[in-house]
């Protein structure tokens, strides 16, 4: 009971942090807008330039940050359990390399058709994930085979990315932004593209939480307890793939969120996925919104892609976690 209330309190604290991050992200920016005007803008009673800034730039960008944070963190949390590997994240199932190659192909070869980046990157991510699955299939799915197939496919696609960047070295700047991952100029169309996946992913992840708990006991025990292990693993991987693909195709190859946020959440709420999944989702939303806001305003007027900030803080934090846990 004690444990239960402790975990609930931590999740509520995460939610408060996410809410604070949301407000921070809307208030902070290169143009100073008083709080009263922000409120009027959201009400729709303001009507000036500031309303446009709030409603067309900051609010949608913040919402995209929230969705990206939720999607990547949930995806990572699910994959870490399904692959029985604490280092698993959306990269491992080829999402990043698939989205990366597809997105960069569009950015470099068809620079005038940049609206194609998101849908094509999504298709690329899913194609890479399916490809890894097929390669890893041999009388069922074993996590080790997925991880190995993932490494091989990612290396293969990475070669394609490098080749494109060499052939089109004059246009590499836009590709670099995509490789690092950033939220610059993300707006309502991106929100519209992502939220159905977030909703679906959150629902399926919460329904699957108890099955994930059982899966963590090992395949034989899980089967003995009546879990359809193969089917569960395939469905959960598919959910994780959809979540990550929808996020990555919008913001580029934003790393570390899917790896670090679930770990940080696990340190605080433990391994029970009924708590870990909501905690990861909420913490992910908080981390991405706050990081993006800092990346946006810290070096104003230059805007840093949030991916750089995530890596700068994420990598040392990850090492800290590793030293603590292993």
């Amino acid at each position: 009971m004690n444990d239960l209330s402790k975990r609930t309190i931590i999740i509520i604290l995460f939610a408060a942090l996410a809410f604070a991050g949301f407000i921070f992200s809307i208030v902070a920016g290169s143009v100073d807008i008083p709080l009263a005007e922000i409120w009027q803008s959201i009400n729709g009673t303001h009507g000036g330039v500031h309303e446009k800034i709030i409603m067309n730039i900051r609010l949608p960008r913040t919402v995209v940050a929230v969705l990206v944070g939720i999607n990547l963190s949930l995806s990572g949390a699910i994959l870490q359990a399904v692959m029985k590997n604490p280092l698993a994240d959306p990269h491992i199932i080829g999402i990043s390399s698939g989205a990366g190659l597809a997105g960069i192909a569009i950015l470099l070869m068809l620079p005038d058709e940049s609206w194609l980046v998101t849908p094509v990157a999504f298709l690329g991510a899913m194609a890479a994930a399916v490809c890894i699955y097929i390669l890893a299939w041999k009388n069922g799915i074993r996590p080790v085979r997925i991880i190995l197939a993932g490494v091989a496919v990612s290396a293969f696609l990475g070669a394609g990315i490098s080749a494109l960047m060499i052939f089109y070295s004059d246009r590499v700047h836009s590709a670099l932004m995509w490789m690092v991952g950033g939220l610059s100029a993300r707006s309502w169309p991106h929100v519209e593209m992502m939220w159905p996946y977030t909703l679906l992913g959150v629902l399926l992840a919460l329904i699957g939480a108890r099955s994930i708990n059982i899966l963590q006991l090992g395949d034989d025990i899980a089967k003995g307890l009546g879990l359809r292990v193969e089917l569960t693993r395939i469905l959960l991987t598919a959910v994780a793939a959809l979540l990550a693909a929808s996020a990555v195709s919008v913001v580029g190859l934003l790393g570390f969120v899917g790896l670090i946020v679930p770990h940080a959440a696990r340190l605080m709420v433990g391994t029970d996925y009924r708590f870990l999944l909501p905690a990861s989702a909420i913490l992910g939303a908080a981390v991405v919104t706050i990081s993006d806001t800092i990346a946006r305003v810290a070096f104003s007027p230059v805007e840093l892609p949030v991916g750089i900030l995530m890596a700068v803080f994420g990598a040392p934090f990850f090492l800290f976690l590793l030293r603590r846990e292993l």
């Binding site: 329904i207 034989d220 025990i221 089967k223 009546g226 433990g270 391994t271």
Partner: protein, 259 residues
């Protein structure tokens, strides 16, 4: 609940592990599977319990192919404790035992029913683990941890309980403790117990029947006093041994040398 293995044939990769194995497990009895290392004991257990789906031949549960049952409905009839298990680092005994109710829940019906709570209590009492319910499983001693796992299996309220070497890695006191618990579960609730055992004296002492696996097939099946003979020990284990009848009428064997 009857359990029958017919013409069982199991391969792992290209290697044949069991061929043409026939066993009928006695209902309501304790049966121990014994045999040398690598003979296929665990393989037989995994096939007979339905964990291994990729088998040839038949496993019949109440006369019906075991794989025609859905996983959840099978988990209400059969509980299995494999040799290796992963214990999550931060789970309490009570939570672990509660996982045994997984097959009785669905995502529509998540809340604990009275039946669930009673089953968990009963399982913890039967394994004498109830005083440790709030402890983390990772902080328990080997014997206590094994009892917690057995409690989880019992919470499934199975009719048949499979255990793969339940006393491995335990000291002698904890071995006996676990075996006494297994015996009392069988006696009081008539649960069929099928387990893989290494220690022949313990297998003889705690089982009604022994199934001997040797060289990919069933060498012999019968009561301990019929199975444990000098000839058996020489044939199956290549061990020269003396066999006594103990003061309580049980079989005791004393290994002397390897042939």
């Amino acid at each position: 609940m009857s359990l029958e293995v017919k013409g069982l044939y199991v391969t792992i990769g290209d290697k044949i592990i069991l061929e043409n194995a026939d066993v009928t497990f006695s209902d309501g009895k304790i049966t121990s599977v014994i045999g040398p290392n690598g003979a296929g004991k665990s393989t037989l257990l995994r096939a007979a319990s339905g964990i291994n789906e990729k088998i040839k031949g038949q496993v019949l549960l109440d006369g019906r192919d075991i794989h025609s049952y859905s996983r959840p409905s099978l988990a209400k009839k059969i509980a299995v404790l494999p040799q290796s298990s992963v214990t999550p680092s931060d789970i309490t005994v009570e939570q672990l035992v509660d996982y045994g109710r997984f097959p009785y829940r669905s995502w529509l019906k998540k809340s604990d029913s009275k039946e669930d709570r009673e089953a968990v209590e009963w399982a913890m009492e039967a394994t004498r683990i109830n005083l440790l319910r709030k402890r983390q499983v990772s902080s328990l001693s080997g014997g206590e941890r094994q009892r917690a796992w057995i409690a989880m299996a019992l919470a499934q309220k199975p009719e048949i309980l499979f255990l793969d070497e339940p006393t491995t890695y335990l000291d002698i006191a904890h071995q006996l403790e676990v075996l006494e618990i297994i015996r009392s579960i069988n006696k009081e609730w008539g649960m069929t117990i099928i387990m893989v055992m290494h220690d022949l004296n313990q297998a003889a002492r705690y089982s009604h029947e022994l199934v001997v696996v040797k060289d990919k097939s069933i060498y012999q099946q019968g009561s301990p006093d019929k199975v444990l003979t000098k000839k058996f020990l020489a044939d199956v284990f290549r061990v020269r041994a003396e066999v006594f009848t103990g003061p309580d009428g049980g079989i005791i064997f004393n290994p002397v040398s390897v042939y």
